[in-house]
Amino acid sequence: MIVIPNLQKMNPLKFIQMKKTIGFLLFFLCVSVTSYAQVISGKVTDTEGTPLVGASVVIKGQNKGTITDFDGLYKLKAKKGDKLIFSYLGYETKEIKIFNKKTIQVTLETKGMGLDEVVIVGYGSVKKRDLTGAVAKVSPEEISKTATTNFDQALAGRISGVNITSLDGTPGEAVNIVIRGGNSITGDNSPLYVIDGVPLEDFDPGSISTNDIETFDILKDASATAIYGSRAANGVILINTKSGRSDGKTDVRINVSNSYQWIPNRLEVLSPYEYVKYQQQIAYALDGYSPGDRTKFFAQDWVDPELYRNVAGTSWQDEIFRLAKTNKYNASISGGDKTSSLYFSTEYIDQEGTLLNTGYKKFVNNLKFSRKISSKTEFKGNLMYTHLNRSGMRVSGDKYTSVIRDAIQFRPVEPINDDGLELGGYDPADINQRFLFNPIKNLENTDRQSKFDVVRGGVSLRHKFKPNFYINLSGNYQIDTRKESLFFGKDTQSGTRGTDHINGSITQRRNQTISSSNTITYKKHLGKSDLTFLGGMEMQARSYEYTYLKNSEIPTDLFGIDNLGLGTSPSIPQTSISKNTLLSYFTRLNYSLKDKYLVTFTYRADGSSKFNEENRWGYFPSFSTAWKLSEEKFIKNITAISFAKVRAGWGVTGNNRVRDYQAYNQLNINTGSGYAWGTGQNYVPGAYQSNLGVPDLTWESTAQTNVGLDFGLFHQKIEATVDYYNKQTSDLLLNAEMAPHTGFDRVQQNVGKIENKGFEFSVTSQNINRKKFQWTTSFNIAFNRNKTLALNRGQEAIYTDPEWSNGYAENQYITKIGEPVGMMYGLQYERIYQWEDFNWDNNLQTYTLKEGIPDNGALPVAPGSVMFKDIDGNGTINNEDRVIIGNPHPKHFGGLSNNFKIGNFDLSILFQWSYGFDILNANKAVFNVPGAGSQNGFKGLTNIWTPTNTNTDVNAVSYLSVFGTAPKGNLIDDRYVEDGSYLRLNSISLGYKIPKKITNALHLKKARVYVTGQNLYTWTGYSGYNPDVSVGRYGALTPSLDYSAYPQSVTVMTGLDITF
C-alpha cells in the first residue's frame, strides 16, 4: 500500500525531490494492479496559465496518484469512469471524471480563503486551521491595488479589531494603528513591526514598497504576540517580502500608474456678501448701535453689503489647494531555480501634495537572494535602500502659524474703497495680528524637507540536521538617517513678522539597529500527536544620535538652507546620543492530539538595558488551546458546518517604549544652567539634575485573555471568526506628575492600570463562484471598551491641554479613573444670556444678573454673552465647571468589502466605517466665534447674536460694551464637540486583464489595466474636512482633535501592470 503524504503540508521543494521516487513507485503499482488502465496525462496550471509544480493528482477512492513536474505536467494510469482529484496548496481542489479523453488539462482557481492558508506567526508559520491565537491576515494583492503610496494607508476597514486612523492628510504620513484599544496613556500605542523576521522599532511604513509584500499578518492576542515579549503589548504586524522564483523561470513585472488627488470639500466660510454684512454687524456692535467711527469706516470702505451680493470672491482654500498628481513606477525581477533565487525590485513614487509646495517622494530598492549551499543548508540575504522625502511646511501642530487658519480667516473680498489693510484683511502694524500671513506665500516660501534614508540588510542561514530538526541563524543591520531641514524665506510669516526673520534649522536623527535572531526547531510525530518545539535567542543593540543647528537673521533667502552661515544670530547647536540593548530568550511548544486538540505554549525572557539591573529581566508567558469541534462526530453530522474550532488563550506581553536612561538619574548642562562666576564674572556652565531616576522602573505589562471561535459553513463558502478579549495593562509607563518638593513636574514611573475589552467579528462569504463570475464579500466589525482603572498614587485624573493654539491654553482632555483614556473635557454650553437673566436698575440705568444666574468668570456678561452650565453651583463659571463633553472612542468600527470577477474584469469595493465617537472640532472654537477684527469665519458668523437677532447659539461681538466671547480659560465647550461617525467608500478598484491572445502576441505573460479610487466619498455629519483626523499633540491623551489639519484627499489612479 502506498501512503500519499499530506502534500499540502509539504514544501514544494520537497515535492520536487520526492516526485521522481513517488512517480516511479506509482507507475509500477498502476501498471501491475490496473493492467487495463489507460495512461492519462495533462498539465495543471493556475488561472494565469502558470504551471503548478508539485500539484497532487490522485484517483478518488484509491491510494493512487502522482504529482506534477516542473512544467506542471503529470501522467498516470486510470480507468474510464475513475475520478481524478487535482489539488494544490492555496488552490481550489478540482474533481474530473475520466471518459474517453487521454489528455486532461486542468486549471486550478486560487482559493479566496481557506483553512489551509498559511499564516505567519512569530518565528514560524502555521496553517490557519491550526491556529490557537487571534491572528488576522490581509491580502497583499488587495492592498497593492489601492491608490496609496504606503501600505498602511490601505489597511483601514480590512482587519477586525484594528483601528486605523489618520493623523491628517499629509502626504506620506504614517497612520495610527491601534490593535484592540490603546494600552498606554503617555506611551506609544503603535504595534511592533516585524519585517522579514526582524523586529523593528520606529519602523516607517514608507520604507517598503507595497508591491514587495508577500504576506501580511497581524498578531492580536497575547498568546500570539507573547513570543515577541517586551515589545508586543500593542500587537505585532508581520510582513514578509517577496522572494525570487524557484522554478527556473524569470518574471519581470512593471507597474506604472498615474493618479490625481484633490481635496473634495471645503470648510464653508462666509461668502463676500455675508462677510460684508458681518462686518457691518461688527461695526454697529462696536459702536453700541449708535453710529460712530466704526460705522463710518464701514460706510467709507465697504459702502453697502448689497454691492457684494454677486461678487465671486476669493476662496483662499482654493488658492492653497491644488489638483495634485502622483506618478508611481515599480519594476521587479524575480527568478531562480531550485538552488538559487533572486528578487529585485525598485519603486519610485513622486506625489504632489494637495496643498501648495507639499509633496512626498519615495525611492525603494529591494534585493533578496537565496542560495542552497547543500541539500541541507540554505543561505539567504537581503538588502534594501529607501529614500523618502516629505516636503512642504507642516500644516498642523504649530501653535502660532497655520495656513489653514489663514485661508479660513482671510477675507473673501476686498472693499470697494481701499481700507489700507493687507490683502486678506490683516493689519501689518497690529501686534495682535502678527500670526497672520498670506498662506500662499507662507506655503511657497517655506522650504521644509524631511529626508529619510534607510539601509536595511540581513543574512540568514538555515540548516537542516534532519528534515524535522533545523536551525535558523540570522543577522540584521539597519541604519536610518532622518534629516529635517526647515527654512523660512523672507515672504513667510516667520521671515517677515517673526523675531528670527529669515532663518533655517537642520535636525538630524540617526538610528542604528544591529540584531541577531537565532532559532532551533524540532518537529516530531508521535502516534496521534504532533509536537513542534521552537527555541531561540535574539540580541539587539540600538543607538540614536541627534543633531540640531539653527541660524537666524539671515540677510537673504537666496541660498536657502544651503548657507546657514550667513545668519547673524545663531542658536546654540545641540547634539546627543543614546544607546540601548536587548537580549532575549524564547521558546514555543505546539502540541496537537488527533488533529483535534491543539495547545501552544510560549515563553520569552527579555533583558533590556533601559532598566536597572534588578528590574532588567521581564518574563512573558502565554498559553493557548484550541479544540476543533468539527472533527467531533456530533458536529460532523451537521452538514452545514464544515469547520468549527474554539480557541482560548492567555498571555502577558510588555512595553518598554520609554526613552533611554529614564531609570537613571541624569545630569544636564544647558544655556540656562550656567553661572557668572569668579573674576570678571565669566560665564561658566553649570550642571543640573534633568531626570529623577526611578530605580524600580520596569516593563509596562499587558495580560490578555482571548476566547475565539472560527467556523466555516457550507463547505467553507462562509468562513467566520468571533473573538472576545480582555486586556489589562498594569505598571503603565506613565509620565506621572510629581510632588512639587521633588523639583520635577513629571517623572517616568510604573503606575496606573488600563483595561480594554472587546468583541470582534469577521466573516467572508463566497457568494458566487462560477468560472466567469465570482463574488466574494467580507465583513468585519469590532467593539472595544477602554477604561482607566488606576493612575498615579492619589491621582484621580490627568488633565491635558492639547496645545493647538497659544490662545486656547486650557485643559481640553481628561483621563480619569473609571472613564476611557483621553476624554474630551470642557464646559457645557447652556445658552446665550438674554434680558430675562438680568434686572434693570432704573436708578443707575444699568443691569445686574438675577440671583441664581451664573456669571462668566473673569469677564462681565451682558445679553449676547455665552452662558455655561454652573456645574458646581457656585454662581461663577470656572475650571471647576468642566466636565466630560466627548468620547473619542468609537462604539464600533469595521469594513465591508466586495470583490467581483466578471470575465476578465475584476472589481473591488471597500466600505469602512467608524461609529459613535466624538471629535473636538477646534476649528469651530476659533472660526465660529465672532471677533472684533476683519477675519472671516464659518457659517455661524451669519447668525451672531445682536439685539435684533437673539435666537442663536453664537455669541455677540459686543453689546453694552461687553464682549460676548467667553473669557480665556472658558473657551472650549461642548458646542465644538461633534459626532464623528462616518461611512466611507474607502476604495474602488476596477481592473481588466488583457486577453491572452493579445498578451501572447505581445510576448507578455500577463497584463492588466486598472482604475482605482481611494477615499472616494464619506457619509458623515461632521462639519470638518474629514472625520478621520487626530492631530492632538499628546497621542492617547488627546485623540480626535481637529485643528488646522491637512485635509484628506480623494485619489483616482489609473495604471498598467505587465509581466514579461
Partner: protein, 508 residues
C-alpha cells in the same frame, strides 16, 4: 455578461463622480425668505422704580433677523389686570430708531459706480430703540404694571409686525429717602440736660419710614418714628465726644433701606457744657471717576472718536487734595487727542444727574471740579486746536442728543494752580497763551496761563436750586475738521484732564 460589465462600469463611474464633487467654499447668501414677523421681544424687568418718578427701561432685544425694528406702545395694565387709561399712558413713550446722515472724512470721499462723488453716509441709530420712558411726576404709584408693545419691521415692500402683550414688567416701589438732612449738621448734646438732635428733614422720598441707629449704640439712641437722636441715659464723658452716627432709614412699604453716614450728614458733639460748633458742608455727590459707569459718577458719549486715546483713569489733581474730604478716593480722567493721525475729535463726559431741590433751603450750593490742559500747541492762525467746554441741562434723561444743553463756561470761576488766588470768571484758554500766530478768539491772556497746570473751577449752583434734574457735562472738541496734520505739524491737540468733580451744600 456585457450588461453586467456595463453595469459595473456605470456604478464605478458614478462612485468616482461622487468622489470628485468639490464642495463650495462659500455659504449661500441669505435671502428674503429669512424675514418673518418679529419675535421674542424681551425687556429686562424693572423692580426698583420709584413712585411717580422718572422711569427709563433698558433697550429691549427682539428677533427680527437684523431688520431694524420700530416700536409702539399699544396698551398697558396694572397688576390686577385693569387697563391703564390715557392719564397713565400720556406719560409713557417709546423710542424708535433714528436714521442719520453723517459726513465722511474729506480724505475718504469717493466716486461711486454712477460717477457721483460721495461725501456722506447714512446709518441707523438704534442704540435706544424700544426704550420705554415714563415722565417724571407721573401717575404710576406703588404696584406692578405691564405694557404691550408692537414691533414692526420693513424689508423692501414688505412689512412685518407683531404685538407682544405684557412684555415689559414694571414694578414701582415707594420713593426712597435719598437725603436725610439734620440742620444744622453739627449739633451739641449736653450731657444730663436731656436735649436731643433736631428732627431730620425728609426732603425726598416716601415718608412712611422708620429710623434705626447702626453705630454708637452704646452712647446714643434714636426715635424709631421721628429720627431724633439723644444720648443714652447714664452716658457720661470726661471730655467733648464727637460722634458721626450711622442712620438707617427703612421704608415701611417695601422694607427697603437707605443708610446715611459721614461728617457731612451729621456731627454730634457730646459735652458736659454747651459749646459752639462751626457750620458744615455736605458733599452730597463726590464720585470716584474710577470707571465709566453711573456707579462711578459719569458716562462718556463719544461723538467723534478721531484718533484719540479716550478718557482713561489717572491720578487725581494734587491741588484738589488740599480740600478733599477725608475718606474720599478720587481719580482723574484724561483724554489724549495727540495720537496717530490727530483726527478731529469730540466727546462728552456727562456727570450723574443731581436733584438740587433737596438743598433749596438753608444751603449754599456749588459744583467744583479741577481741569488741566497739556501739550496744546496753537494752529498757524493762533487758535487752539481743541478746547474744553462746560454745559448743564435740566432735561437730560440719558439721551445726549435730545437733551437741551446750555454752555456755562462763563459762569464758572477759576483759580490756576492755587486755592488762594482770586478766582476769575470763565475757563482759562488752553495752551501757553502766547500770541504767536495770532489770537483770533481774543481769549488769550498771559495772566491766565494754565498750560500743564491744574485749575480749580467752581460753579455757583444757587441759581439752579429749583432744578430737580440738574446734569453737568464737559465737552472736549476740536476746532478743526479732518486731520490736524493737514493744517500744521507744529500744532498739537493736546490732552485734557478732569478731576474731583463734586457737588456740595454748605450751611448758610
Amino acid at each position: 455578461m456585457k450588461n453586467q460589465v456595463f453595469t459595473l462600469f456605470g456604478i464605478t463611474t458614478i462612485l468616482l463622480f461622487l468622489g470628485s464633487c468639490t464642495k463650495d467654499t462659500f455659504t449661500e447668501n441669505s435671502n428674503d425668505s429669512l424675514y418673518k414677523a418679529p419675535s421674542e421681544l424681551s425687556y429686562s424687568e424693572i423692580l426698583n422704580a420709584r413712585e411717580f418718578s422718572f422711569i427709563k427701561s433698558g433697550t429691549p432685544i427682539v428677533n427680527t433677523n437684523n431688520l431694524i425694528p420700530t416700536y409702539e406702545i399699544v396698551g398697558g395694565r396694572n397688576g390686577t389686570g385693569e387697563v391703564l387709561d390715557a392719564s397713565y399712558l400720556q406719560d409713557v413713550s417709546i423710542e424708535n430708531p433714528i436714521e442719520i446722515t453723517a459726513n465722511l472724512d474729506p480724505e475718504n470721499y469717493y466716486v461711486n459706480a454712477a460717477g457721483d462723488s460721495v461725501k456722506t453716509y447714512t446709518a441707523t441709530n438704534y442704540q435706544t430703540a424700544g426704550v420705554i420712558t415714563i415722565a417724571n411726576e407721573n401717575k404710576f404709584g406703588i404696584g406692578d404694571y405691564y405694557f404691550d408693545v408692537k414691533v414692526s419691521t420693513q424689508h423692501k415692500e414688505d412689512t412685518y409686525s407683531s404685538t407682544f402683550n405684557n412684555v415689559f414688567h414694571l414694578n414701582v416701589g415707594p420713593q426712597l429717602v435719598t437725603n436725610l438732612l439734620f440742620s444744622p449738621i453739627a449739633q451739641n448734646l449736653v450731657v444730663g440736660t436731656g436735649n436731643t438732635s433736631s428732627t431730620p428733614y425728609l426732603i425726598t422720598g416716601n415718608t412712611a419710614v422708620t429710623f434705626d441707629l447702626l453705630s454708637d449704640t452704646d452712647k446714643l439712641s434714636i426715635d424709631k418714628q421721628t429720627g431724633v437722636i439723644s444720648l443714652l441715659d447714664g452716658y457720661s464723658t470726661a471730655e467733648n465726644d464727637t460722634l458721626y452716627p450711622t442712620v438707617q432709614v427703612t421704608s415701611t412699604i417695601s422694607q427697603e433701606t437707605t443708610t446715611f453716614q459721614g461728617d457731612s450728614f451729621l456731627m454730634l458733639v457730646a459735652s458736659n457744657s454747651p459749646i459752639d460748633l462751626p457750620k458744615k458742608t455736605n458733599y452730597f455727590f463726590y464720585p470716584t471717576l474710577e470707571a465709566e459707569n453711573k456707579t462711578f459718577g459719569y458716562a462718556i458719549d463719544m461723538v467723534e472718536q478721531g484718533s484719540t486715546t479716550a478718557w482713561v483713569q489717572a491720578n487725581p489733581s494734587p491741588l484738589a487734595a488740599q480740600e478733599r474730604p477725608e475718606g474720599i478716593e478720587s481719580k482723574s480722567i484724561w483724554i489724549n487727542v495727540t495720537v496717530g493721525d490727530r483726527l478731529a475729535h469730540e466727546s462728552d463726559v456727562i456727570i450723574n444727574t443731581q436733584d438740587l431741590t433737596q438743598f433749596s433751603l438753608g444751603f449754599d450750593l456749588s459744583a467744583v471740579f479741577h481741569i488741566k490742559n497739556q501739550y496744546v500747541e496753537y494752529m498757524p492762525d493762533g487758535r487752539t486746536p481743541t478746547e474744553l467746554e462746560v454745559y448743564y441741562s435740566a432735561d437730560y434723561t440719558g439721551n445726549n442728543t435730545t437733551a437741551t444743553w446750555t454752555k456755562i463756561n462763563n459762569q464758572v470761576t477759576s483759580q490756576i494752580n492755587s486755592l488762594t488766588t482770586t478766582p476769575f470768571v470763565g475757563l482759562p484758554y488752553p495752551g501757553d497763551q502766547k500770541i504767536g500766530g495770532g489770537d483770533p478768539d481774543g481769549q488769550k491772556d498771559a495772566t491766565k496761563n494754565a498750560d500743564n497746570k491744574w485749575t480749580r473751577c467752581e460753579l455757583d449752583l444757587n441759581p439752579y436750586k429749583d432744578i430737580q434734574n440738574f446734569t453737568l457735562k464737559f465737552k472736549v472738541k476740536s476746532n478743526y475738521t479732518g486731520s490736524l496734520n493737514d493744517i500744521s505739524t507744529a500744532a498739537r491737540p493736546g490732552r485734557y484732564y478732569i478731576s474731583d468733580v463734586h457737588f456740595k451744600a454748605s450751611e448758610e
